[in-house]
């Protein structure tokens, strides 16, 4: 992107350029990245418009800490509790990684809700970004399900009984409720397979869904552009100018605007029209 030519490139620079050209030729990666990163956005973006990125970053943190927890966690009712104790008390920095995963979950929920509030207040879900909102709403729902399925994995009393009650509530819903509960519980009652099923949903099914929808969401954000804050100085100026133009046009429409003012027109009409 730099246009300054400072002479022939050294061997390393030549190799680097050749690699970039090779990849670009076969994937278009450079074009894609340039499209994504060097796109123009409105000048006056607000600090509130950083919350979506922060939520995504925390999702990444959850993925990383989750990978480390999965290295030690045993999704088996007879060993799950002990493996959590092991992570908390024995594994080097295990307490920290577990704590970050737990607090990260809370942070992600808060950030997702705040991000939604920002989009709502800014009216950013309106044309042409309706479907960006829908993908975001799906992400919010999936984030809540992450919380629900992750809570059980600790397999302590509180988590266990809260999830039993939550599953019983699910089963009490009409029509599909009992089937959904049976699917989640791996049977009509809480059993040994329930834990590994929640584990699988928590670390494979929903993260896959979240990653997919983040991809869609990001693509739409990049394609449609981040919305301009509705109270930006630029928009205020545009509105002022439009208003001035409208008034000027209204003045022009008056019969005496450009024409010679004839003696019959009373001065009251001018002041009444012009002063409105």
């Amino acid at each position: 992107m730099s246009t300054t030519n400072i002479g022939p490139k050294g061997p390393a620079g030549q190799v680097g350029e050749a690699v970039v050209d090779y990849v670009e030729d076969r994937t278009g990666a450079k074009t894609g990245l340039t499209w994504f990163l060097k796109r123009n956005i409105p000048a006056e973006t607000s600090w509130f418009q950083t919350l979506g990125f922060a939520a995504m970053a925390v999702f990444g943190l959850q993925a990383v800490t989750g990978i480390f927890l999965a290295m030690y966690y045993k999704p088996d009712p007879s060993r799950a509790y002990q493996s959590i104790e092991h992570i908390t008390n024995d594994v080097t920095w295990g307490w920290l990684v577990r704590g970050m995963h737990k607090w990260g979950a809370s942070a992600m929920i808060v950030l997702v809700f705040l991000h939604m509030a920002r989009v709502f207040i800014f009216g950013s879900y309106k044309y042409p970004r309706e479907l960006t909102w829908v993908t975001g709403a799906m992400l919010l729902i999936m984030t809540m399900f992450m919380g629900l399925t992750g809570y059980l994995l600790v397999w302590d009393e509180k988590a266990y009984w809260a999830t039993v009650v939550a599953m019983n509530i699910t089963a009490s819903a009409p029509i599909l409720g009992p089937y959904v509960a049976d699917i989640l519980r791996a049977g009509s009652e809480f059993n040994g397979d329930t834990l590994s099923r929640f584990y699988s949903i928590h670390m494979l099914a929903i993260p896959g869904g979240i990653a997919t929808f983040i991809g869609l969401h990001l693509f739409l954000v990049a394609k449609l552009g981040i919305s301009e804050p509705p109270h930006s100085h630029r928009l205020a100026r545009v509105r002022r100018e439009e208003e001035a133009a409208r008034r000027a046009a209204a003045r022009d429409r008056q019969p005496h605007g450009r024409r010679q003012v004839t003696p019959e027109t009373s001065p009251q009409t001018i002041s009444a029209e012009g002063g409105s």
Binding site: K126, G147, D156, W161, P174, L235
Partner: protein, 250 residues
Amino acid sequence: MNKAQQEAYLREYSQAKKEGKSFFPYAIYKDHIVAILAFGWIIGMAIWHKVEIGKPVYAATTDFVPRPEWYFFFLFELLKIFKGQNALMPVIMATFIVPNVLMVLLLLTPFIDRGPERRISRRPIALATAVVVFASLAWLTHKGATSEAPTGEGPAIQNLTPEAEAGYVLFQDNACLSCHKLGGSGGVLGPDLSNEGSKAHGVQWHIDHLKNPQAVSPGSAMPAYAGFTDEEYQNLGTFLDGLGTKWKAG
């Protein structure tokens, strides 16, 4: 928004982009500052509020309190509101209707509000909706966070037979009070048991219900208590079947 308004918006937005600046680095640096602050908060909380681990599931006593994570408190409190045993406010409102209606409304928001105005100061209905939704979420979450888990000994009960006395001990040891009320104290997730005996279910019904609540009371949220001995079931069933009739919680 009609066609002309949509085109006007796109025109205006492309002008804003033309007068704007590059996403990289001018927006992404702000994003990273906020993300790093979030990471710092998470690491700080992980260090200074170490995550505890509760008791294991299969301990001898199950004095549990079924409480979800804080971000589900609003649903949990909603359940308590609709637990009034009132035909106008059935439990299904809290467990099914309200959450699903909210979810559908959330997904359909952009198709409901299609007006061209984006300034919140000129969207009174949207502003009112946002305030009501967030205030209710905050209030219900706060309520859930501050509501004391109903524990304690439970009320004194007169005229208990030895069998029922043993049943009452089991009732207290298994934290039944965290969901059920007895003589004014206890939780509200399950039905008030103060006059359970007046329903005249019979002892065997209570035993079946304890073993598998959903089998005799479809749609119940109560967990199964499958770990008692036959004698303990008999004691607890006898105790429950006489509540409010043979013996009263005082």
